[in-house]
């Protein structure tokens, strides 16, 4: 009986093949890995894709008219036609305040008794606006949109010639790369990067921890298979699985959320492979520290998902962060991938963005695997 022992050679390839086959059979029979690779991105994309939006649409507002006038009616019509608001008439300010407290509405528009008079005399729109400040973000949006509607109405009113033109200059904003200015187009690519961070790390961290828990790692160690072979045997199947999950996310992003795709599949595939290597490497690193599925899962979420979510620039602007925090964002692989994906989706293959960020991802992968190979030994405890 000869055993291969060292790395390389036919025996080594045979062992790697056996390990990959074993892992594949396990993946196919145990739904948990498949769930992580496919169900998790599906559900997360649905939740975040529909739930996290920086646009306010159909914000419920209460409207109170102390005295009805053609002017206030006109403004109401403008409000109704606006995509941002769905107004509800309340008889008096007290019931409107109650509604605000119940969170039935996010704001109140109050046309005071003198509205009709004042609008003609001073043009100083005496509309009373109350905004629910609990959700700071929505509050500011409501305020901004109301102003917007108000200005539109004034402009229209002026154009109809009742009074001389107040605004000689018209602002015509033009937005590049996201002409619809839909925040979803901007968020979904970043979201995919964040989700893939979690999935890549979870896949490997959990399955290796599972081998420890079930005692199979111990048997594996007492075979001629080297640590490198065992790691490759883990990496390849989950790389394939992770790439499939990535493909699913991209398809969902494009077809379900209607995010445009202006780059090339080739660049997308290549950069995804680089990023997934880093994410899987992170999972393998976690599993060398924790040999328990529960703890491994916790570490994966805290050390990969949370930083990626908060610090990758996918939702919170990195440039507005304190300097030190901005420094930390550089050691988060997801922040590079967020930039890449946003570019590939919305702008196309722009070498000036893709190349440096891809290099950073490649560096991460190499570094992580060097660390793993260095600290992994075929030893228990």
């Amino acid at each position: 009986m000869k055993d291969g022992g060292g790395l390389g050679g036919r025996a080594s390839l045979l062992r790697i093949r056996a390990l990959i086959r074993k892992e594949t059979l396990q993946i196919l029979r145990d739904p948990s890995s498949l769930a992580i690779a496919f169900l998790l991105p599906f559900v997360l994309l649905l939740i975040f894709g529909y739930g996290v939006s920086l646009d306010a649409r159909h914000v419920p507002v209460a409207v109170v008219q102390d005295s009805r006038s053609p002017d206030s009616e006109g403004f109401m019509a403008g409000l109704r036609h606006s995509p941002w608001f769905s107004p509800t008439i309340y008889p008096d300010i007290h019931s409107a305040v109650e509604a605000l407290k119940r969170q039935d509405v996010d704001g109140i528009l109050w046309f005071r008794e003198n509205f009709g008079r004042e609008i003609h005399s001073s043009r100083n729109g005496p509309i009373h606006v109350v905004v629910d400040g609990v959700d700071d973000n929505t509050a500011r949006l409501v305020e901004g949109y109301l102003t917007n509607v108000w200005q539109t109405w004034i402009t229209l009113r002026n154009e109809r010639g009742r009074e001389s033109s107040v605004f000689p200059v018209t602002l015509e904003p033009r937005i590049w790369f996201n002409p619809d200015n839909r925040s979803r187009d901007f968020l979904v690519p970043g979201l995919i990067a964040v989700i893939m961070t979690l999935i890549g790390a979870l896949l490997t961290a959990l399955v290796v921890a599972r081998e420890w828990e079930r005692g199979t790692m111990e048997s594996l160690f007492v075979t001629p298979a080297s640590m490198g072979e065992i790691l490759i045997g883990k990496f390849i199947p989950y790389f394939v699985l992770g790439m499939s999950g990535m493909a699913l996310s991209v398809l969902m992003g494009h077809f379900l959320f209607g995010v445009p795709f202006r780059g090339s599949i080739f660049v997308l595939g290549l950069t995804s492979a680089l990023f997934l290597s880093a994410a899987l490497g992170m999972g393998l690193l976690i599993s060398t520290v924790s040999k328990n599925q529960f703890v491994a899962g916790q570490i994966a979420i805290v050390s990969t998902f949370l930083p990626a979510f908060i610090l990758s620039g996918f939702i919170f602007d990195v440039h507005s962060m304190p300097k030190m925090i901005r420094g930390i964002t550089h050691i988060i692989p997801a922040s590079y991938f967020v930039t890449i994906l946003q570019t590939v989706f919305l702008a196309g293959d722009i070498p000036g963005v893709i190349v440096p960020n891809s290099l950073a991802l490649a560096l991460f992968s190499v570094f992580l695997f060097a660390v793993i190979l260095r600290i992994s030994r075929k030893r228990i405890g």
């Binding site: 009986m1 000869k2 055993d3 291969g4 022992g5 060292g6 025996a11 045979l14 062992r15 093949r17 056996a18 390990l19 086959r21 074993k22 059979l25 396990q26 029979r29 145990d30 079930r214 005692g215 199979t216 790692m217 111990e218 048997s219 594996l220 160690f221 007492v222 075979t223 001629p224 298979a225 080297s226 075929k378 030893r379 228990i380 405890g381």
Partner: protein
């Protein structure tokens, strides 16, 4: 083969091996200066209770953990410095067998064959004898996770043999396996060694498996307690063992008196007799009240040698003189028209399509020690949980202390103490705090609680551990505390689920002495065990297999049934095995 490199006859030699582990409470020494040799072509048993250091030792030999100091030589290599050549010619089976439960039997075999680079051409010839030996042939397509415990272990053995290793290290291959499979496994191991000339080093916590080995190494608390052939051990205690017939009197009430006589090393109950182990060949000098009891010299057992060695290393301290009284409330047998403490009739429990307990009936009388015997998966724990009202039965009647458990589980529980298999203690709380908490949980408060705690502490000799965190108590004491906790509310009925598993024989003795003391005071005890010799301590017992009742009666009656001309004095295990193999019409109804 790597074994050819060996010039001397020793496959393994170990000198002054030390291994410590850091732990939150300081350093724990797992192995403390262990030295031994293992001869080529032998079966050597590594025997010791849980926590003795068996697994640590085997893992060091397999190069899976490093040593602190000492020298280790395995087949000419140092496994710490050169793990790969050792691991390449090693058949290693860890305690949690390394099978992939979601792969089939065949896929597991193929995986390990691939990993050991067994050429695909020769595999058929290689698998055939292994499959016929293990009886796995018909199950090739079955998932490993769906095999029975015994079959899993056999598959584990087969997987570790695929590359025909010259050295086998097996860590507790027989744990949790029913007696029949255990015997078959040992057959397989012996055949293997005989036919291939391999060397087998196998650990076990069953003392009775020692006699199946060529050489024995006893490991206790990280030290070698003894080494030699079984015959060596028997010779040491030949003529030291006696059995006392307690004519008419309950052996349980006789035994405490005997255990404190001068020169007595150890006493245990076997059926209606008291088995006595002496320091030497002189029989015990019986006090007057026992003088007329017949005393017979009997053949020594391996356990005798173990207890004798233990006494010599630990000093005279090896035995305790318990039975002090644990005060019990007076006049509590008030509701005593009910003769039986526990009554189980036609009990059924299904999990989906799987019937875990099938038409089980038995009765435990007041003050009886009643055993529930069976391999892992026989349905013992399921039955226990139903008795404790933790799991609703699918069908049948359950009465505990006259209360219908299905209708009023909380009332039934008031009279019941339950000690779960994994002791449910709060590791961070001290002994006292645990007792206080459980006392309160059972509704004790104020002076009655304080008094009860003191009483229990004294009875279980836990006074000196009063303020020690229960998590760091030695296993034997933790087990005592778990029992103490379940006795806080002074129950009439005690349910003990595998109370002694993993505890060393000396601690087990003390534990049984406590149980016997409680039974003498009228507490009814229902206990599950997979130690056959412990079943001998029970008044009556039930043997379960695959959820069904296999036999019921006193140990002597059950043994009687297995008596054949070939086997004139069968042990309980013999009886168990013959019952299982005869298992045509399984059911006998318990009366």
């Amino acid at each position: 083969m790597a074994g050819d490199r060996e010039s001397s006859g020793n496959v393994i030699s170990v000198r002054d091996l030390v291994r410590t582990f850091p732990s939150p409470r300081g350093t724990v020494t797992a192995l403390e200066g262990v030295s031994f040799e293992i001869r080529k072509g032998t079966v050597t048993g590594l025997i010791g209770p849980d926590g003795a250091g068996k697994t640590t030792l085997l893992r060091i030999l397999a190069g899976l953990i490093l040593r602190d100091s000492g020298t280790v030589n395995v087949m000419g290599y140092d496994p710490s410095a050169d793990p790969l050549p050792v691991q390449g010619s090693l058949g290693y089976m860890p305690q949690k067998f390394g099978l992939y439960e979601d792969l089939t039997v065949m896929e597991n075999l193929d995986l390990y064959a691939d990993l050991h680079a067994v050429p695909p051409s020769g595999r058929k010839d290689l698998y055939a004898p292994l499959l016929s030996m293990t009886g796995l042939g018909p199950f090739l397509g079955r998932l490993a996770g769906k095999l029975s415990g015994g079959m899993k272990q056999k598959l584990g053995v087969a997987c570790s043999l695929l590359h025909r290793p010259p050295l086998l290290l097996f860590d507790e291959p027989t744990v949790g396996v029913d007696p029949v499979s255990r015997r078959e496994l040992w057959e397989i191991l012996h055949t293997l060694v005989r036919e291939s000339g391999a060397t087998l080093f196998v650990s076990t916590s069953y003392l009775d498996e020692a006699e199946r080995c060529d050489d024995i190494l006893i490991l206790l608390d990280g030290r070698i307690l003894g080494a030699g052939s079984p015959a060596d051990f028997y010779t040491e205690v030949r003529g030291h063992a006696f059995e006392l017939e307690s004519a008419g009197q309950s052996p349980r009430s006789v035994e405490p008196g005997i255990s404190v006589l001068p020169g007595v090393v150890d006493t245990v109950l076997t059926g209606s007799r008291v088995r006595i182990l002496m320091e030497d060949r002189s029989p015990p000098v019986l006090p007057e009240e026992f003088e007329h009891f017949p005393l017979h010299p009997v053949a020594p057992r391996f356990e005798d040698a173990f207890m004798d060695r233990l006494r010599r290393t630990r000093g005279g301290d090896g035995k305790t003189r318990l039975p002090r009284q644990l005060h019990r409330k007076t006049g509590r047998s008030g509701q005593g028209e009910e003769e039986s403490a526990i009554l189980v009739e036609n009990l059924v429990r299904d999990f989906g399509t799987f019937r875990a307990v099938n038409d089980l009936s038995f009765e435990v009388k007041r003050g009886e020690v009643f055993g529930l015997l069976g391999a892992n998966g026989a349905g013992k724990t399921t039955t226990f949980r139903m008795l404790a009202g933790l799991l609703p039965p699918t069908g049948g009647t359950l009465r505990v202390a006259g209360q219908d458990v299905r209708k009023s589980p909380s009332k039934a529980r008031q009279n019941m103490g339950y000690m779960a298999q994994k002791f449910s203690l709060y590791g961070q709380l001290t002994v006292y705090q645990n007792l206080r908490f459980y006392g309160s949980a059972y509704g004790l408060s104020g002076k009655s609680r304080t008094d009860r705690i003191q009483e229990v502490l004294e009875f279980f000799e836990l006074v000196s551990y009063r303020d020690v965190s229960s998590g760091i108590l030695p296993l034997g004491f933790r087990q005592r505390l778990a029992l103490a906790v379940s006795l806080m509310h002074d129950p009439e009925i005690l349910l003990l689920d595998e109370p002694t598993s993993g505890v060393d024989p000396a601690a087990r003795r003390e534990f049984w002495r406590i149980i016997n003391g409680l039974a003498t005071e009228g507490v009814s005890v229902l206990v599950t065990t997979h130690f056959m010799e412990e079943a001998d301590y029970c008044d009556r017992l039930v043997i379960m297999a695959q959820g069904s009742l296999l036999a019921t009666g006193a140990p002597s009656e059950i043994k009687e049934r297995a008596r054949t001309p070939q086997l004139p004095s069968p042990s309980l295990e013999d009886a168990f095995v013959s019952l299982l193999s005869r298992a045509g019409p399984l059911q006998e109804t318990g009366k």
